[in-house]
Amino acid sequence: MNFLRGVMGGQSAGPQHTEAETIQKLCDRVASSTLLDDRRNAVRALKSLSKKYRLEVGIQAMEHLIHVLQTDRSDSEIIGYALDTLYNIISNDEEEELEENSTRQSEDLGSQFTEIFIKQQENVTLLLSLLEEFDFHVRWPSVKLLTSLLKQLGPQVQQIILVSPMGVSRLMDLLADSREVIRNDGVLLLQALTRSNGAIQKIVAFENAFERLLDIITEEGSSDGGIVVEDCLILLQNLLKNNNSNQNFFKEGSYIQRMKPWFEVGDENSGWSAQKVTNLHLMLQLVRVLVSPTNPPGATSSCQKAMFQCGLLQQLCTILMATGVPADILTETINTVSEVIRGCQVNQDYFASVNAPSNPPRPAIVVLLMSMVNERQPFVLRCAVLYCFQCFLYKNQKGQGEIVSTLLPSTIDATGSSVSAGQLLCGGLFSTDSLSNWCAAVALAHALQENATQKEQLLRVQLATSIGNPPVSLLQQCTNILAQGSKIQTRVGLLILLCTWLSNCPIAVTHFLHNTANVPFLTGQIAENLGEEEQLVQGLCALLLGISIYFNDNSLETYLKEKLKQLIEKRIGKENFIEKLGFISKHELYSRASQKPQPNFPSPEYMIFDHEFTKLVKELEGVITKAIYKSSEEDKKEEEVKKTLEQHDNIVTHYKNMIREQDLQLEELKHQVSTLKCQNEQLQTAVTQQASQIQQQKDQYNLLKVQRGKDSQPQGLPSDGAQVNGIQPEEMSRLREEIEELKSNQERLQSQLAEKDSLIENLTKSVPVPGESEAGAAAGVAEVEGRLSVLLQETRELQNEIKVLSAERTALKEQLDSSNSTIAILQNEKDKLELEITDSKKEQDDLLVLLADQDQKILSLKKKLKDLGHPIEEEDELESGDQDEEDDENEDGGKDQGLSI
């Protein structure tokens, strides 16, 4: 706000006083008029002033306009005017007619007003809700205003939309609007919304953006469509670039297949409008986004496969070979094909089989290489061809073999009717055009990349120079040209080729050293004090000499490793040599080339470094420096160390395997321990149950005893007790079995443990003391030892656990034993009791007999008495005596007593 005030205050020559007053009056009307018509007219008037007096309207009217949006929603017309006015204030789009110097200021204005507007997050939310309004007068200006806000302060506005419920999803609905203007501006809104915000990109993709956009592109005629197609393609690129999740979704959604028809442009030449060129450019870039070398390898390769399977690659190759394609489209198509085939064997094989529709048909590779070594072709096209060739050979041993074979004596076409890739490369290597020299040298280097076989094969190549002279080897010819002191670009190219060729290939080194002119040439170049522009060549010469030392197998007496090092010491000086070597990676163009595989140079002079070569430098700089500083004894030692290292590696692997096995065993033991624990728990509960049963029995027994003591007379049957006891023997035998099992388990565990102990003992003994050996191996062994000690620790823990377990088991056993003896005692007593009971029964029986006898006697006595004429109350007495024999004890005491006499 301060800034705005300042601007306003300083602009004394600005708007007339009357204008400011008018605006103020209009604002007052908007704020205070109770009539909708009046407010609407005022807002319309503000709108008409808002372009010319942007600053004034913005400062004075912003809050009133926002208020209108909040309160006058029922009237779409006033909302529309308010939105338009806000748009004019905030947007910089309409300012283009104004003079240059005011543009900057207006940009500041836009972002300042945006900041004020979004300070209240609700204002953005309000705008989002207005977007749901179907009325054209509301929806359209809402879209434009929100787009403008996003363009001004993208990250802040994105964040507000992201946290408002369904914010992003609601914006997606714009793509479904049947009114084209809104749909098209919706695309622009989504472009601004998705810029550099992965989270929003993913939500938009989740809301089926791919499907919708691809549909729109198809409806609009694909590459023949208008600017909408262009906008949709830019949005697709926003969604996919550097967004692995969305790329995966795009591939999994089978949308790659839908790109194929885009490239069916054919030969019919319906003309190439500027829009069509733009569209096709974006389409090609979209393909490249999916297979970019900087994507995760798995992601790129699955997209590459899909592109072959659906025929997209084939379609691209058709464009490659078509006529009448504009040069920049052709260039971008070549770059695209490059990345679609890079490192993907199936696609590379297909590419090798593509033929140009010439007469006779020529391989596409040959046709492309012709352009690469042709001075009249555009520079970017030549770079693209080089990239394509590199991508064709990347991780493609078969392709490398095929290219090198076209140079070998046995396979060169004797009739000379058709030119081969090899011939073109040699032609380029020795042409007078330094760009061709560089491209051909680097291309050839790629045919050798990480391929020892081809490095040796290429040594066989012989060139016929002039008639009468003997043929000269390709290697020789390269060094000859190097020595002739041609252009820097040529020499750099040749040195790149030679360094690649000789690295990791002792035979090539021997061939190189065999030419006695080479070493003096290199030392001369490195030692000399040359100008700045020669520094890179000096560095490359140092690298080549370094390679000749590092990969030297000492097969040439004159150039043994040691002798070469002495030579450096004497002629150049070690420090000086290392410094020159360092020139390469310190070169200003080096880091640029190391970033991306694509050779991408602003102009031909910058064509110096190759991406793969920078990798080689990175790999060799350190080791060569070390090799130069090392003495011969150290060299010998190193050889030995290498051998011992290998041995150590074997030992480490051996131990690793062993540890793996032991890990498995440990795992198993752990499992056993846990089952044992579980069993233990079960046993314990069984014991507790039994203990309580015993207690019950004891109680019962005591009760019985008490009862017996109280009334020494026959009583209830003791069968209940016997039943309770009856369970025990079974359970006991089960318990015993389980204990047996536990015992054997434990024994097994213990023996396993003992075995492991001794194993570990052996292991610890057999690990050699790593002190004297090489650091790497020592670390390996140390690791093994570490793991061993962990293992030991774990074993100890296991042992402890088992100890605890067996203690528990002993306790259990004791408990069982004691309960067993209790049971035995109980049984005894029970037997005794039973005996006693039997006795009592007998007694009772006797008593009963006695009783019966007496009854009989009484009866007969009574009878006698009756007969004698003596009266008695007989009934009662007799009945009671008959009824109660068993229920006696439960009846009242009086009767009992009567019976017990």
Partner: protein
């Protein structure tokens, strides 16, 4: 590859419960003990077969942290299925289920199928939430329930497939509008409209497409 239907899923639940591992186990059949924290949302996909029909599952794995909640909410509306995951060794992840479920119910279509998953069932010794508790919660809230282990792959396949079966069942009952992609369901590119016309037409049609793809 052609498919009869495409279902969109989301995986939700507290951070660290194993959502990303479940997805990886399902799509790649492997377990990664050390796993990057999911930032925002990650995508994965796989084809499954249900009743002889090829069904493509597109799965969005979300970040569990509170700070990503508003992002996660954007995914409910368009999903046909949700896997709501907790960790059986950490009770608090179980306690948070209610809040997750509220979020899901509030922002999703009412037909979204929710599968409750108690993960890390391999860690029995550290179990903190009983299986019965998970079952009870699921019963109470009308969810399907399973215990899984992303480590041993136990029940992982089943969890994703059973969710798909339930969605498929709902489609056949006519509960889903399969033509509205906002529901997280899409009919395959080569499916004729007749396929979706009624359950009766389905089996024969699916067998046809099945043998078609067998030839290719």
């Amino acid at each position: 590859m052609t498919y009869a239907y495409l279902f969109k899923y989301i995986i939700i639940g507290d951070t660290g419960v194993g959502k990303s591992c479940l997805l990886l186990q399902f799509t790649d059949k492997r377990f990664q003990p050390v796993h990057d924290l999911t930032i925002g949302v990650e995508f994965g996909a796989r084809m499954v077969n249900i009743d002889g029909k090829q069904i493509k599952l597109q799965i969005w794995d979300t970040a569990g942290q509170e700070s990503f909640r508003s992002i996660t909410r954007s995914y409910y509306r368009g999903a046909a299925g949700a896997l709501l995951v907790y960790d059986i060794t950490r009770r608090e992840t179980f306690n948070h289920l209610t809040s997750w479920l509220e979020d899901a119910r509030q922002h999703s279509s009412s037909n979204m199928v929710i599968m409750l998953i108690g993960n890390k069932s391999d860690l029995e010794s550290r179990r903190d939430v009983k299986r019965e508790e998970g079952e009870a919660f699921a019963r109470e809230h009308g969810l399907i329930f399973m215990e899984t282990s992303a480590k041993t792959a136990c029940n992982v396949e089943e969890a994703f497939i059973n969710t798909a079966k339930e969605i498929y069942r709902k489609i056949q009952q006519g509960l889903f509008d399969v033509h509205n992609e906002a529901n997280g369901i899409k009919i395959g590119p080569q499916q004729s409209i007749a396929t979706s016309a009624g359950p009766g037409a389905c089996p024969r049609n699916s067998r046809d497409t099945g043998s078609d793809s067998g030839c290719c």
